[in-house]
Amino acid sequence: DQQVKQNSPSLSVQEGRISILNCDYTNSMFDYFLWYKKYPAEGPTFLISISSIKDKNEDGRFTVFLNKSAKHLSLHIVPSQPGDSAVYFCAAMSSGAQKLVFGQGTRLTINP
């Protein structure tokens, strides 16, 4: 079941630069997308979300872009900070459903 895919298992970015994490999905019934961040020995923490009626949502240093025709979303973090080093999970859900479908995660490392 690969409904949500994060093709990059890891990403390394210099502090202060932009981090771009990507996510693809196959299920056209998904209409709400989220990004979660996870530190070791902790549960996932909600970061930002976007509805399928939008193509961009911004919250401080974090921006999520949605390209529905390509079934692709991305998370931009700018500027990247050392505390952003974590595993980032993309997730999707359909309206009316209660389950999140997660991608495999991308480990982001911010180098000083």
Binding site: Y32, L34, A41, E42, G43, P44, T45, F46, S49, F89, A91, M93, A97, Q98, K99, L100, V101, F102, G103, Q104, G105
Partner: protein, 113 residues
Amino acid sequence: EPEVTQTPSHQVTQMGQEVILRCVPISNHLYFYWYRQILGQKVEFLVSFYNNEISEKSEIFDDQFSVERPDGSNFTLKIRSTKLEDSAMYFCASSTLNTGELFFGEGSRLTVL
């Protein structure tokens, strides 16, 4: 800041034994969930619980699994007869609305020998 708490943090059990994982969701939340993550794999949905009943469950959540909210504060996951493949990190989560914006606990690591 309110948080979801889970116990135990780590449990080791023999195959075939029953296990109960406990969670205390955030007090004013209405939706409750269990997810799991097998080592090296993605986080997977198990079950959601709303209005004192299961509202959605995955194909993983078979007859060996059950959930309960026995006293209005705790939310438990029971595995009746554990299998080796049940070894995973189990995450409890809760939310006020069904928006996907979940608050997760730190997880309970289950090791089945």
